[in-house]
Symmetry: C2
Subunit: 246 residues, 2 copies
């Protein structure tokens, strides 16, 4: 197997021709990757990404409202009429256990849909980085790390997490496969492991702090807090291991 | 004036709403920025970017063939039936003096067209970096540095040149304005000023070396070799200063 790791800084950079022969890790540090990891840990049945709030409502009509929650944000704020926004702190066991989450975030949901043609797919963050590295190592096809970006633009926090993943995978026999992977490694080195400071300096981190979500930055920057990997199957994410108790 | 410098790693990231209020510097290190700087230095009258080889031929039909040259590449190689490819070494005074160059490169031409809605625009490279910094400092509107990328994907050499420009502009009162600008600065620090080594490690640098264009990497990596700035006016680039003798 080719042990190179490619990085895409935006989902639009994905090569649709090679995607079906690859595994993909989709990253949206602030905040979908972090939020979904905790939602599944706290017992959500599965997470279905959708591109728009309208599509979320339509899908709930189709599958029935009893065991579903409408989740997502626009400009960082919970969508009007939805059950939950995109803050990990909202996703408690009391609220999410046994539920199907219909998830309409601005960037992560789009990236999951864009990368859905990969042969296998997972969602990665700082909170489950080591578990993601294990997942990549267990794969037998080349892997691409996909940043969700921010409304079609580069996002530093996703790229830095890719850099961390490339770095720890380099210790396990992998090597950066493209310019973006090498650039991400530079960001990893510059951050020096202080992920909270890094998040606070990013465009989106600062925006979220202005909205009062500083606590979400602390959550998102906590390396290897969880061992759960959200994995893709039948157009939805489920937990790769039985979620532990809260 | 807002003395922040934004970077776009791909032309697709440009915000079309704010572009008419901004100046833009388009960067395609390997090789259009470098080639066009030398073409104008060596006396080319102007350079008109076009998106496709077909459009290049049509335009030559329209404006007449006598003083025009068809220039450009696909996959790094001169387009069949064209006068020149995209190697700076082809653009000698004997060949280009007084000519209008119709320029169909794979990435730089597309980026110039994409950024054409900027209020003012120039093309930048390592070879004219200091002159570009002077041009940016003389502007009174916010500036965005636009990487051309590589067939829609991130290219390390363009990002690193942005990092160098952000770095020297930081010494003149500017500051990085977005995540991409900060990331580019990291790349600049890691390169340590050894631009030839950096170019040789990039995906496209390696590809060009395989094609036998190593000399173009040496040319492209020579910092501040020229003081000419290609500037945009009426959908074409011309020299901002009278070109010196060869």
């Amino acid at each position: 197997m080719d042990k190179s790791i490619d990085v895409c800084f935006l989902p639009q950079e994905l090569d649709e021709k090679t995607l079906p022969e690859r595994s993909a890790v989709v990253i949206d540090i602030l905040r979908a990757s972090t939020t979904i990891t905790y939602a599944l840990k706290y017992g959500a049945r599965d997470v279905i990404p959708v591109p728009t709030p309208t599509r979320a409502s339509e899908l709930r009509e189709q599958i029935g409202g009893k065991n579903t929650l409408l989740c997502g944000e626009r400009l960082g704020i919970k969508i009007d009429g939805f059950d939950l926004g995109n803050s990990p702190s909202e996703y408690t066991p009391e609220i999410v256990t046994g539920k199907t989450l219909i998830f309409a975030s601005s960037n992560g949901s789009q990236a999951l849909i864009a990368a859905g043609g990969a042969q296998r797919m997972a969602m990665g963050a700082f909170v489950n980085a080591r578990a993601i590295a294990d997942w990549v190592c267990a794969e037998t096809i080349p892997c691409v790390l996909v940043c969700s970006g921010k409304l079609g633009q580069f996002s530093g926090e996703d790229a830095a997490c890719c850099g961390h993943l490339v770095s720890i995978l380099s210790e396990r026999g992998f090597h950066p496969g493209n310019d973006a992977a090498r650039c991400a490694l530079d960001m990893n080195h510059r951050a020096g492991g202080d992920w909270l400071s890094m998040l606070k300096q990013t465009d989106h981190g600062r925006y979220l702090m202005e909205l009062g979500f500083e606590r979400d930055l602390v959550t998102a920057s906590t390396l290897n807090a969880e061992s759960l990997v959200p994995v893709w199957r039948n157009n939805r994410l489920t937990a790769s291991v039985t979620p532990g108790k809260a």
